[in-house]
């Protein structure tokens, strides 16, 4: 589904991603872990087309198409979704208006009929209930005055509504209490199917108990320095990153 080849990217002239190689197939869940500032969010932003991030080298194929040539909205319409580490507030725009517009844009792109207001409402209520969200959230302004946890849940609500093929979760677990974590993970697990793939950025092994990854990668200073299965996450939890970093540095010498 997604093939990343030797991807390098700069932020404000500074190289942050230094050659990422990664292949993700439909039906798979990949986790990315790594110390603060290693480039995890940068990777998410580059994949979704944030203009502040300049790709200097490499290639990304999304279902065989050249992803890096598409503008952000096209990537989204093609089925790429990012649950933001820091969801953005849009005052005066209700969650419903926002999501209905987004859903219809995506549907139009796929050549599908627009949702009727009635269909939309029953759909969003269903998904909100699934996530244990108060229905009042639907008419509230996008993320305005939401608590940290509510914002994260709202991201997952959007995922469920927009039905993307490829989902990036950027620290969706941070700021969630244990119950909320389970609910959010449950949302992801319900949504997960053989045609979708996930790239989950997290600092905590705990999330991976609920969203079980097929592969775990460690990102350090803009490179994937280690890949493994879910056991790697447990190992990291226990030992931290130091041993890996040392290993990496040894190799470089």
């Amino acid at each position: 589904m997604l093939v990343i080849k030797n991807l390098k990217a700069n932020v404000e002239g500074k190289e942050i991603l230094k050659g990422i190689n990664l292949e993700i197939n439909a039906g798979e869940i990949h986790a990315i872990m790594g110390p603060n500032g290693s480039g995890k969010s940068t990777l998410a932003n580059v994949l979704t087309g944030n203009e502040n991030y300049e790709v200097t080298e490499g290639e990304v194929l999304f279902e065989g198409k050249n992803l890096l040539e598409m503008d952000p909205e096209t990537r989204a319409r093609e089925g790429m979704f990012l649950a933001f580490q820091y969801p953005i507030e849009i005052p005066g725009v209700s969650n419903a208006t926002f999501l209905k517009t987004a859903l219809n844009e995506i549907r139009k792109y796929k050549g599908q009929e627009e949702v009727t207001p009635k269909e939309f409402l029953s759909l969003i209520k269903e998904k909100a209930n699934l996530l244990g969200m108060d229905e009042a959230m639907i008419s509230r302004y996008v993320n305005v005055g939401f608590s940290g946890g509510e914002k994260k849940r709202n991201e997952i609500l959007q995922m469920l509504m927009l039905e993307p093929k490829f989902v990036l979760l950027d620290e969706t677990d941070s700021g969630l209490d244990i119950d909320a974590l389970k609910i959010v993970a449950n949302g992801v697990n319900i949504y997960k199917n053989p045609d979708t793939a996930f790239l989950v950025v997290t600092h905590y092994q705990r999330l991976l108990n609920y969203i079980v990854p097929d592969f775990v990668h460690v990102l350090y200073k803009g490179r994937i320095i280690k890949s493994g299965t879910k056991e790697l996450a447990l190992e990291l939890e226990e030992k931290g990153y130091d041993w890996l970093i040392k290993e990496e540095e040894m190799e470089n010498v």
């Binding site: 952000p72 909205e73 933001f84 953005i88 849009i90 005052p91 005066g92 959007q158």
Partner: protein, 492 residues
């Protein structure tokens, strides 16, 4: 990327297509209708005023009133304090009267000049449809003379008067004499004096005691004849315990020469009466270099004369090269309420100096001011507001919120709040913010499949939400379209 955009455009829904149509044209309503008009020679003197008055078959007292205003105007000077700049206007180079040549009395729309009906169609407001679909009574002012008034019969049953001011001068001289100039006297300011001398037409509304007007009353103003200044005069009187909602919307064709527009609107609310006055203003703002465009110098004022009366002004201003406009409320009756909700958008080289005045005179009077200014391009957008609490206005309260949004870094937003309080039981609150359309907001919406243009519209509409909430439904939709049009191409 462009190819993708093109492809997207094809796939847009009907709704969006309409929006596209409107946004892709430079100024959609820039056409000139070919109708013979009868136009007075350029220049202004007592003879021209007598000509206007006689063309309109006015009684002697009206002619005299105009002449008094004219003589007063001669002694006045153009105001210099607004934060706008423009070349000096030669008031002798303007023609002060223009009337479409056609039969004066019309019983139905069939009798209306077909050219004129086409104009309305181009504007997207076919009168017939308006009549049937929206239940809006339209008094269409076309270049100074009313040509079609609909729904009159329904209104008549309730005793509501809704007609052109010219007709009112003929048919209801007592009401006109009593209220014309009672809120905005001709001595008020330079443009009000000029308007009083030469006003061509406008609307008159009277809601009798205890009547709730069953429909929105609406006037579409339109400037048509080249180089004809427009001097509309509107007078709305809501008698005790009555209610009316009035909509004013306008468009104008493309011109090379700047056109002057100096309207006066007077509202009178008696005891327990409520007047809601909404405006969507979309006059030609000039081209991208700032050439052409309408000068809009308007005096709008409402008097809450009776106890518990209420006047609310809601305006969405996207047009004109220069706007100078301060819809105001004089809160005379005890417990009376004044409201001002405004969205003013400026782009390219537009200049707007707009705001409100809330004059608290009666006890426990309350006012709310919500102003949203959006500047893009090289435009300048100023809010100027006065809140005055008089000596006797015990317990008066005001809340002002003034938000500015900047798009790009070549435009300006300015706030000039004036507060004068002569009563220490009063409570006055003022909040102001300035923000930019955030790149992170746009990216967030992009990431959900929404194009940058739609994202900007969504963010801006959200910013204006509190004001749009005050507009009648159909006007709110119109207002959102206008925002999209006037901000087209200002980001990205």
């Amino acid at each position: 990327m462009n190819e993708i955009n093109e492809k997207m455009k094809e796939e847009l829904s009907d709704d969006m297509k309409i929006l596209e149509d409107v946004t892709s044209s430079e100024y959609k309503w820039g056409f000139v209708t070919e109708i013979d008009s009868e136009t007075a020679p350029k220049g202004l003197n007592e003879d021209v005023i007598r000509l206007i008055s006689s063309k309109k078959n006015e009684p002697e007292w009206m002619t005299e009133w105009r002449l008094k205003a004219f003589r007063y105007w001669l002694k006045m000077e153009e105001p210099k304090w607004p934060n706008v700049t423009y070349p000096k206007i030669d008031f002798q180079d303007i023609s002060y009267y223009s009337a479409p040549k056609q039969k004066p009395k019309l019983n139905s729309l069939d009798e209306v000049d077909p050219e004129l009906l086409k104009t309305f169609e181009k504007l997207g407001i076919p009168l017939e449809e308006q009549k049937i679909l929206s239940g809006v009574a339209v008094d269409a002012v076309f270049d100074s003379v009313s040509v079609a008034t609909t729904f009159k019969e329904t209104l008549k049953e309730k005793g509501i008067i809704f007609c052109s001011i010219s007709e009112a001068i003929q048919e209801y001289p007592d009401l006109v004499k009593k209220y014309l100039g009672s809120v905005v006297p001709y001595t008020d300011n330079f443009y009000a004096a000029l308007n009083s001398a030469v006003f061509s037409d406008g609307s008159f509304v009277y809601i009798p005691k205890g009547v709730r007007c069953p429909m929105e009353l609406s006037t579409y103003f339109r400037i048509n004849s080249q180089e004809t200044g427009q001097f509309e005069r509107t007078l709305i009187v809501a008698d005790d315990n009555s209610y009316v909602s009035y909509l004013e919307g306008c468009t104008a064709p493309i011109r090379d020469n700047n056109q002057l527009h100096a309207a006066v609107v007077e509202l009178v609310a008696l005891e327990n009466a409520e007047i809601k006055y909404s405006t969507v203003q979309n006059w030609y703002p000039g081209d991208k270099e700032g050439k052409g465009g309408i000068y809009n110098f308007v005096t709008k004022r409402g008097a809450c004369k009776g106890k518990n009366s209420k006047i609310s002004w809601t305006q969405v201003e996207t047009g004109s090269a220069i706007t100078w406009k301060y819809p105001s409320c004089i809160l005379q009756g005890d417990n009376s309420v004044g409201e001002f909700y405004s969205v003013a958008v400026t782009n390219n080289f537009q200049q707007a100096d707009t705001g409100t005045k809330m004059i608290h005179i009666g006890k426990n009077t309350r006012s709310t001011i919500i102003s949203k200014g959006i500047s893009a391009g090289r435009s300048n957008n100023s809010y100027r507001g006065l809140v005055r609490i008089g000596k006797n206005a015990i317990g008066a309260r005001n809340f002002t919120q003034c938000d500015s949004m900047l798009m790009g870094d070549k435009c300006g937003a300015h706030t000039f709040p004036y507060i004068e309080v002569e009563n220490d039981t009063a409570k006055v609150e003022h909040e102001a913010t300035t923000s930019k359309v955030g790149e992170d907001q746009i990216f967030y919406l992009n990431q959900r499949g929404i194009s940058t243009e739609d994202a900007v519209n969504m963010i801006v509409n959200g910013f204006c939400k509190e004001v749009f909430n005050e507009l009648p439904m159909e006007f709110a939709v119109e207002a959102q379209k206008l925002l999209a049009i006037s901000l087209e191409g200002s980001v990205g």
